[in-house]
């Protein structure tokens, strides 16, 4: 190993780009190299004898010494280690420094040596890195948000597509219905007129023949009822909207089915909220909706029972809830109740178009209609209208 003298060490220290200095244990500077002079702008004459803390901006000086003391007492080392600080040049400009301390002892006593490195460039790169990371995080967040929006839009698109398919299906059924209705009604007219000729103008002495003729008339009227349902379904999708009270429409529909309610011993319990606002709606079409719903309940309550009707306003929507004490709808059939020609009624008792037409009418008003079974038994129909979509004025 080459043995170097003090002069050699001094040359090493003086040629270093870092500031290398040592102080007594109170922080008074005893040595100041060329690197320190270049870094801080002070000469050795300026600094020897002055406190190390004068290399820090004034605002950091007081806290710095206790900080050094804490570092000293931290157990990490006897003034060994590095810390990053803000330094202050002679011209008062500030810059980032890294301060490495160590303590050493010689015959002359104990001293601290300090190596100070200008880390302005490192800090700038670190700041750029931090900024780039923040930008990256922001972009990632934006991308995740965009992805979320894209997923939502995709789901909406799928939903819209399904709705369009449904609408197209319904329209094609409607067009078919309108054409078929006219062509079927004419032969039905011939059958009905022929049966009237037979029953009114020809003596029917045979009781079985009389029953047969009556059944044939019933069959013709049943077929006509199906056609009526089909025509309702294919009727032009135009609404004659006026400001109407849902309560009034519900009351009118109940009046229209009163005879059937009485005949089947069905009681009605009404809870109509008088505070609900008027809606711009087609009164005749919505009466048809509620007549259909009430008639379904009546037909489900052949042995008697009750219907509970409630109207209410909740979260910007007007609700009409119709509960009955009937057997409800078999769970495996619930998803089909709004399909054309689906019915749970005995043959001849329903056309299977009532709820289909009702759904169509409610949706034309921007509303929704659902049918479910109550946990306590019986069916529940919920019709809801958004106040924003069809609200009129007043109560």
């Amino acid at each position: 190993m080459i043995q170097l003298g003090e002069q050699h060490y001094r040359c090493v220290i003086e040629s270093a780009r870092d500031a290398i200095l040592w102080t007594d244990l109170d922080g008074a500077i005893l040595s100041w190299n060329q690197g320190a002079a270049a870094m801080f702008g002070y000469t050795a004459e300026d600094m020897v004898g002055r406190s190390l803390t004068e290399l820090l901006p004034e605002r950091f000086r007081d806290p710095a010494m206790p900080g050094l003391a804490r570092f000293d007492g931290s157990g990490y080392g006897r003034f060994r280690g590095t810390m990053e600080l803000i330094g202050r040049r002679k011209n008062a400009s500030e810059f980032w420094i890294e301060l490495a301390f160590s303590e050493w002892t010689s015959d002359a006593g104990s001293f601290l040596s300090a190596v100070i490195r200008d880390i302005t460039e490192r800090k700038r790169v670190e700041e750029e890195l931090r900024s780039a990371n923040a930008q990256l995080s922001e972009r990632r967040r934006a991308l995740e948000e965009a992805l979320q929006k894209l997923n939502t839009a995709h789901e909406d698109l799928q939903e819209t597509q399904l709705q369009l398919i449904h609408v197209a299906k319904m329209e094609s059924v409607g067009r078919l219905a309108a054409g078929v209705a006219h062509e079927v009604k004419n032969p039905l007219a011939t059958l009905l007129m022929g049966l009237d000729v037979l029953t009114d103008h020809y003596p029917v002495y045979d009781a079985d023949l009389a029953i047969l003729l009556r059944d044939m008339k019933t069959a013709v009227k049943r077929a006509d009822k199906v056609i009526k349902g089909l025509l309702d379904f294919s009727a032009p999708h135009q609404l004659e909207k006026t400001a109407q009270s849902i309560n009034g429409i519900v009351e009118q529909a109940l009046a229209l089915v009163k005879h059937e309610l009485d005949r089947c011993h069905v009681s009605v319990e009404k809870h109509l909220d008088n505070a609900i606002p008027c809606l711009a709606i087609d009164r005749t079409k919505l009466e048809q909706v509620f007549v259909n719903i009430f008639m379904n309940s009546v037909q489900a309550l052949q042995a008697g029972g009750s219907i509970r009707v409630e109207t209410a306003v909740r979260t910007g929507e007007i609700y009409v809830l119709i509960d009955d004490t009937g057997p409800g709808v078999p769970p495996d059939k619930l998803h089909k109740v709004f399909d054309p020609f689906f019915t749970t009624k005995p043959t001849g008792k329903g056309t299977g178009l009532g709820l289909t037409v009702s759904k169509q009418i409610v949706e034309m008003h921007g509303g929704t209609i659902t049918l479910s079974n109550k946990p306590s038994g019986g069916a529940r129909v919920q019709v809801a209208f958004s106040i924003g979509k069809g609200v009129a004025h007043g109560h």
Binding site: H182, K185, N186, M193, D196, V197, D200, D224, K228
Partner: protein, 129 residues
């Protein structure tokens, strides 16, 4: 009571035959059937009906045009016309008290009793008795 004359204009020949049979069996009406609108005017001039029962949708001329032709002819314009058609629904007729666009309608299918009731109502033939 004098026998009334009814001109039935309808392309549904089976229906026309049944209605003619029913009305004539009452002994109060004589019915002439025309299966299209093209010759309806000429037929009416010869037959001199008290009432016209008119279908709406027919292959040659629609019922509305035929009715307009009758109303433009001064010798026929006073004959009451009732539209008898499958083109309207029972509900439409009922909610408008039987009158749509100023015309009286009977929806098909219809019972003979309903047709008779309308024919014999005061505003149709009843007023002439």
């Amino acid at each position: 009571m004098a026998i009334k004359r009814i001109l039935l204009i309808d392309d549904e020949e089976t229906f026309s035959r049944a209605l003619k049979l029913y009305l004539e069996r009452t002994g109060r009406y004589v019915v002439r059937v025309e299966s299209g609108g093209a010759f309806a005017l000429e037929a009416a001039k010869v037959f001199r009906p008290d009432l016209i029962l008119l279908d709406v949708i027919m292959p040659d001329i629609d019922g509305g045009t035929v009715a307009a032709q009758f109303r433009e002819d001064t010798t026929l314009s006073r004959i009451p016309i009732i539209f008898l058609t499958a083109a309207v629904s029972r509900d439409e007729v009922k909610t408008r008290s039987g009158v749509i666009g100023g015309e009286r309608f009977i929806p098909k299918p219809v019972s003979a009793q309903e047709v008779l009731a309308l024919i014999e109502s005061p505003v149709t033939l009843g007023a002439n008795e």
